[in-house]
Assembly symmetry: C2
Homo-oligomer: 365 residues x 2
């Protein structure tokens, strides 16, 4: 989508130079729009770990391109096979919650492990590009399936603005283009429908305030930033027409793992009869249906993320401390929204209820 009027993706292969990948360093947004270069699988790993890239589809793409970068240098290693094997392991386990990461890395790895050493780089590139184009295509289709939900709402409201609440960032920055939760919003806006987005700031890392507000603003979509505490009262007052969120991982029976705080918004939506939609490419489903959702691995990043907050001060990104050292903190990164609070899942194969019969049907189509 657009940045300063120019079309961008969140990650892309250099069109001229082999073994070079570019991405938007999301740690610097919205204050500074900076492009980072990846030239090695270590660079890709670091980009994932340092959260220069975030969002399940983008993390997956970065992992796949990391394997491509590993493949470009494999032939110079003493033991190319062990080298690729090692990087496949390291990249696929860089973050535990995003199911796409391991899958994308393994797709590329499986493609190249049987290839001749001379061609692994080309095979890896082709496979990574395929994964990326599939993700972009999935996001666009999610947008197309979600668009009628917004259109119907606008019609019911006689053309008055449709107010959509979103949590975290499930826009094009989290994906490669379009986004998941925000794809229907972009398509609705571009189709001339009156939309306005309530942007949860999304503590502790404030992806809503920093990224969602920025990308909506760049595209000219009306939006308002609110604290994570505010969505419930807006729903009580009828100021939210629908909730649209993404998901890092959803089980086939509809348990939605997403950024911490999503569950609270789902509860409020349910209590106020506001539809709660989860936009998710099929690649983000967890195919292990036997998992007890509450036992799913949930990251607990450094609690210092709660104590220290980053913002803009005197032309620099600065961190300030929110409470003293002698008060401990806990920082669960994700929560799980049970299917009873989910109105429907919006996927690239269509909209479905969060029940196993329906989700499995999509995979078979």
């Amino acid at each position: 989508m657009k940045v300063h009027g120019q079309e961008y993706r969140s990650i892309w292969l250099d069109p001229k130079e082999e073994g070079l990948v570019h991405l938007i360093n999301q740690n610097r947004l919205p204050w500074s729009f900076e492009i980072a270069d990846l030239r090695s699988p270590g660079d890709a790993l670091e980009a994932i770990r340092s959260m220069m890239v975030r969002g399940a589809p983008l993390i997956g793409a970065t992992g796949a391109l990391g394997m491509y970068l590993a493949a470009t240098t494999a032939k110079n290693q003493k033991d190319p096979e062990a080298f690729l094997n090692d990087w496949a392991y390291r990249l696929s386990t860089a973050r535990p919650t995003a199911i796409n990461l391991a899958r994308s890395v393994n797709h590329v790895f499986n493609k190249i492990r049987l290839g001749q050493s001379g061609e692994v780089s080309l095979l890896a590139k082709k496979e990574a590009e395929l994964i990326i184009e599939e993700e972009v295509d999935a996001c666009r289709k999610i947008g197309e399936y979600g668009l009628p939900l917004i259109r119907e709402c606008a019609e019911k409201k006689d053309g008055k603005t449709v107010n959509i609440l979103t949590h975290c960032n499930a826009g094009w920055l989290a994906c490669i283009d379009y986004g998941t939760a925000l794809a229907p919003v972009y398509l609705a806006h571009d189709a001339g429908l009156p939309v306005h987005v309530w942007v949860d700031e999304t503590r502790p890392r404030n992806q809503g305030a920093r990224l969602t507000a920025w990308e909506l603003g760049q595209h000219g979509i009306p939006h308002t930033v609110i604290t994570d505490n505010a969505g419930g009262t807006l729903m009580q007052k009828g100021q939210v027409d629908m909730v649209l969120v993404g998901s890092d991982r959803t089980t086939l029976d509809g348990y939605v793992v997403n950024k911490i705080g999503t569950y609270l918004k789902a509860l409020a939506a349910y209590d106020n009869h506001v539809p709660f939609y989860v936009a998710i490419p099929l690649s983000s489903f967890d195919l292990n249906t036997t998992t007890n959702p509450l036992l799913l691995p949930i990251e607990e990043p450094d609690p210092e993320e709660v104590r220290m907050i980053e913002g803009w001060h005197d032309g620099e990104i600065k961190q300030v401390q929110l409470f003293p050292e002698n008060s401990p903190a806990l920082n669960p990164a994700f929560d799980i929204t049970p299917p009873e609070f989910v109105t429907a899942l919006i996927t690239e194969k269509g909209i479905c209820m969060p029940v196993i019969e329906e989700t499995i049907r999509l995979f078979k189509e």
Copy 2:
């Protein structure tokens, strides 16, 4: 309660000098423990407006003491009656949501308007002191009524730690002593029961992270700061035994007006069968039962409170900006939790269900 090992109240009359009131400047906590002096009703008004004092009971006490300060200078005015009348109006309307404020100011005003001009200062002082002692007494009794709930929970858990989640600051800093929601926690801790408090940071002003964590820490009570997004998942995992919050205003039929985000925690508590208690002195009830709760006046402070956050950096309180100017923000200060999500109200006259028959009974006792 204790600060650096010494007993304090959040506001107090100077024991020697007439017309002098001291309070803890809560805008400087937890970074700096500073006492502010009030010598005029204007000082009291400013302390309320600038949120040096916050919390319904403390705001009420500050208003009452503000009327005392007005009374001490009334006799030097051209028209003492008009002067007192003017200050009663200005103080009672300094913040709209705290029902105690208007009531406390009017109590003092009604006491002195019929007095002789020579004695208004003494009458005002006596009445303000009475209001303050009643508030302290109410908080201690709330603690005594709430204590058995914690004790029973500890017994059920075979002496394992009782985990209590609280939102915002309803501790002694919000009151004059003991607190409302935290009074049972202080009494439980002092009685040797194992308690641990999950402290919601409470965006946008972070009263939880800044004040609740500080006062619990000063008293030696184990606690952990979490983002406002995290409480739901902790409840899902069985890591919360009860929620204890205060209230700025509660209707007789049990609609609880409290800091924005309270409603979301009530929904999560309900969904996970976690008891949700609201600790509230009778003085914070809204006796107008005919009010449609969703029409209650809710403050919408400056949205810049969402955009700018205050923290500690290089030995100073600094503000950093969380998102750019071209993204608007909205800042509702309170929300309303409907009675169906409230397990019980804890008052100084006992515990009751949030229904009108029960709340009215308390007032008659």
